[in-house]
């Protein structure tokens, strides 16, 4: 959502971290950073629900979501956010299974996303899917209903 103004701030904070620590930030650390930044605005929040995903120590997958004041929700299977979040819960709950490889994961998440946003008038116009593996990050753009 309204993340543009904070994108630069987060890039800045991460670059500083890299300079000081001489390594990349782990996803769970980054999540704590985002959570803190959102809670700073506790009484005048950003209208923003982030979803964070990445590979942590030993390439262990990490996912989490937050509400607009930074309350973290960690999960092992899936996390959702947005105006279509209820639909996404239903779709993900039915389609998810553990230990999928990245091809199957891409298929599953794309189907869940497209089915859910098609039922929400405020969401849609396609989708972006990022698959993070130990060797690379691929971005794929989904074609969806343009209504």
């Amino acid at each position: 959502m309204l993340r543009h103004c904070n994108h630069q701030r987060l890039v800045f904070r991460h670059k500083l971290y890299q300079l000081r620590e001489e390594r990349d930030m782990k996803p769970d650390t980054f999540a704590s950073l985002v959570s803190a930044m959102l809670y700073e605005k506790r009484f005048g929040p950003y209208f923003c629900q982030p979803v964070i995903a990445g590979l942590g120590e030993d390439d262990k997958p990490f996912i989490c979501t937050m509400d607009s004041i930074g309350a973290k929700e960690l999960a092992k299977d899936f996390v959702v956010a947005g105006t279509a979040s209820e639909s996404l819960y239903g779709a993900c709950e039915s389609m998810f299974k553990p230990d999928m490889d990245h091809e199957e994961l891409f298929e599953t998440i794309s189907q869940a996303l497209i089915s859910s946003v098609d039922r929400d008038c405020l969401s849609g116009w396609g989708g972006h899917v990022y698959i993070v593996t130990p060797t690379e990050v691929t971005e794929r753009i989904l074609k969806g209903r343009m209504d």
């Binding site: 209820e86 639909s87 996404l88 819960y89 239903g90 779709a91 709950e93 039915s94 389609m95 189907q111 869940a112 497209i114 089915s115 859910s116 098609d118 039922r119 209903r145």
Partner: protein
């Protein structure tokens, strides 16, 4: 200058989810059996499905007192129809009757979210979905109630039948077999039970086909 609001409401929401799927020669109507109020459970064993005619079943979520009253009105109207016409009401006829009955109380509605399922005049499955004041549409499948937003996108994805979202509207009957459809319904309820606090305990499934009606009950998580 704020309007004075009543501190008593005639309505309550007893929760629950209803689903129906139409097939080429069958119809599956299902509803969970949990009845709640606020954050409490009233009972784990309440049927939300009512047989209105030989080939017409109505599943309703919402305020169960209004649902019970609605079921009574429709059942008695059907009995009168049988006396006058010497035959059972067809499902499309019952669909229209339900719509009219709901709109009759347009300014003090039945707090009932209904799904009507059965076989039409040609023996094909039909599902009609309603809002609280009687606006209705024949569709290939529908979900109503607290778990509806969780189930509907999944049904859009799995049913391989024209979704109500497609334009131009196509005749909506799923190519799935009866066994596949029943399995799909069970999966939907398992998923909805995980994420919706008002859905669970068990799911009652009615399968209507040319040979008659079959009833199945599947246990769900009780938390």
């Amino acid at each position: 200058m704020t309007k004075e609001h009543a501190n008593w409401s005639p309505y309550d929401n007893n929760g629950g989810t209803c689903v129906a799927i139409a097939g080429a020669d069958y119809c599956v109507i299902a509803a969970d059996t949990r009845m709640s109020t606020g954050y409490s459970i009233l009972t784990r064993d309440y049927s939300k499905i009512c047989k209105l005619a030989d080939k017409s079943f109505m599943a309703s979520s919402g305020f169960q007192a209004d649902v019970k009253a609605l079921q009574k009105v429709l059942s008695s109207r059907h009995l009168i129809y049988q006396h006058q016409h010497n035959k059972q009401m067809s499902c499309p006829a019952m669909a229209q009757l339900l719509s009219n009955t709901l709109y009759y109380k347009r300014f003090f509605p039945y707090y009932a979210f209904n799904v009507l399922g059965g076989l039409d005049g040609e023996g094909k499955g039909c599902v009609f979905t309603y809002d609280a004041v009687g606006s209705y549409e024949r569709v290939g499948y529908s979900a109503q109630g607290s778990g509806a937003t969780l189930i509907t996108p999944f049904l859009d994805n799995q049913l391989k039948s024209p979704s109500p979202l497609l334009l131009p509207a196509k005749d909506a009957v799923t190519p799935l077999s009866e066994a596949e459809a029943v399995d799909l319904v069970k999966t939907c309820f398992s998923s909805a039970t995980e994420r919706d606090i008002y859905t669970g305990d068990s799911v009652e499934i009615m399968i209507v086909n040319a040979s008659g009606v079959r009833r199945e009950v599947e246990q769900l998580r009780k938390d």
